[in-house]
Amino acid sequence: MYEEPYRWVEAVGNRRQYLNDQFKQGSPVVALTYEGGILLVTVSKGTPKLYEIYDRLALGGMGHPTDLERLRFSLLEMAHVEGFNRSPSDVTGSRLVKYGIAPVIKQAFEEVYKAPFIVRILVAELGLKPEKDALLTINYDGTFEEATGCAVLAATPTVQTKMLSYLKGQMSATLSLEQALDLGLRSWAIGSLAHQQDEEAQQAEANPPITRAGSSAEAIPSSDTLIAHVRGIAGERMIECAVLDRQAAGTSKYRSLKQAELSRLLPKALQSVVAN
């Protein structure tokens, strides 16, 4: 029945709507550069969302854990085979994304009689020089974007824009890891709060309308409010944090921050959350 062009367009449209719904409960992912490399941060429910791909490549994801695993494995496989057959410096994030997984994700998305990948992916690449640092994001339909400085994954484009504009407003080239973590978490909170608001708005639509102050939702909450929001959620979840550290000894630059290091670096208001 999808042979008819109209049906196919309709089916892809439905699929988009279905997929958009899948990310509503998801936790945003934030990546930003700091003076020593690239930081990735999110708050996860138990299954990790940040991974090491290659010597200078890290992965962050949103969506279905099994789909993320499948794509993670194909990235790992491609990266290591390429690194062995050519050289580690030929393994670049942009090649892996553009010629590796993006076409696979697009194909799965458009084959409407098969299941699509329920994922949004972020690939961070530590360049040999700081100006070569790159961040790539891929959507569930295979479209990808390249960015420098900072990139995020969130449920909707609106939320992503909100988070990015907050990040860009406060970024600087000389952020320490501690400052970057603070900023990353606040930006995560912006995304997470926006997810909550979207959900409330939807429920409000379903129920008889209550008077809502639409404009006040647009105001950016203070830093304290944002950190308090992280604190409220991190209690039952886990702050997950990884870095691509330019100064790391050896060839592998990826390091996930363990509890002790994390609680030392976190903003004061959050230190007790991790310690428990």
């Binding site: 790992l76 496989e77 290591h80 062995f84 000894a249």
Partner: protein, 257 residues
């Protein structure tokens, strides 16, 4: 899918073969002789190798690094055909990383040993044909057991634990006896040596090997060429810089008779 996290298997699935058995052409001599050694000292394990690569009577190269770091806590010293040996090291390096990144845990020390055996086993036809024989020494620090370990292999892939020390290469018969003597009747057993004493012994052992084996390179002070010495402890692998070896060699190895 990649449940096993086995990189070598992945390569094979893509059509890769490690050793292709080819008979050595008449009149062609392969590069293969050397001296490598490893012994346990107080803090961990020391692995050392000379730097000469030879083909028959010819010196191919005098800056070879035969003691290769595979990951933060393991080192493979190679004797045999360098082309195959370097390839094996590259496979191992990628295998350990691939396992860690796919399975989200470090490959155990025993798992690493098994990976070395498997490569050697796959390489048997090439080894017997004479073009790919590799006789490595694998040493590392087992983080789970907090212990330094040394293993050596024959060309067929049999694995032997060197409880105190292990040697390989054409110059090794000379120093094997010395190591036995030192460890049994020396002032102190090898595993009680301090780091500096261990380095001095390694330099002396390699100098002895070079004395009796033309395929083992000695120290060339004019060219500032010293052996490669690596120390593996709980903190990881550390390469001893020439600047440290030079004064040790001059004060405790050279004899002005």
């Amino acid at each position: 899918m990649g449940m096993q996290g086995d990189f070598f298997q992945l390569l094979k699935e893509q059509g890769y073969t490690l050793g292709v058995p080819t008979a050595v052409g008449a009149g062609y001599t392969l590069t293969n002789a050397t001296t490598i050694l490893a012994f346990k000292y107080r803090d961990g394990v020391l692995v050392a190798g000379d730097r000469r690569a030879t083909a028959g009577n010819m010196v191919m190269y005098d800056r070879t690094d035969k003691v290769l770091e595979i990951d933060r806590h393991s080192v493979m010293a190679i004797a045999g055909v360098p082309a195959t040996a370097y390839e094996m090291v590259r496979i191992l390096e990628h295998s350990f990383k691939y396992y860690r990144r796919t399975q989200l845990q470090e490959l155990s020390f025993d798992g690493k040993l098994r990976a070395v055996s498997k490569l050697l086993k796959d390489n048997v036809p090439a080894a017997l044909a004479g073009t790919g024989a590799v006789v490595p020494v694998f040493a590392g620090y087992d983080m789970e057991q907090s212990a330094a370990k040394i293993y050596f292999y024959d060309i067929l892939g049999a694995e032997f634990e060197g409880v105190e020390y292990a040697v390989s290469g054409s110059g090794s018969p000379t120093i094997r006896g010395i190591l036995h003597y030192l460890n049994t009747w020396g002032e102190q057993p090898l595993n009680a040596l301090l780091q500096e004493q261990a380095m001095v012994q390694a330099l002396r052992l390699l100098a002895s090997a070079a004395e009796f084996d033309s395929a083992t390179g000695g120290v060339n002070r004019e060219a500032s060429l010293y052996p490669i010495i690596k120390l593996i402890t709980g903190a990881g692998v550390q390469t001893v810089p020439d600047a440290t070896l030079k004064p040790l060699y001059e004060s405790q190895v050279v004899r002005y008779v």
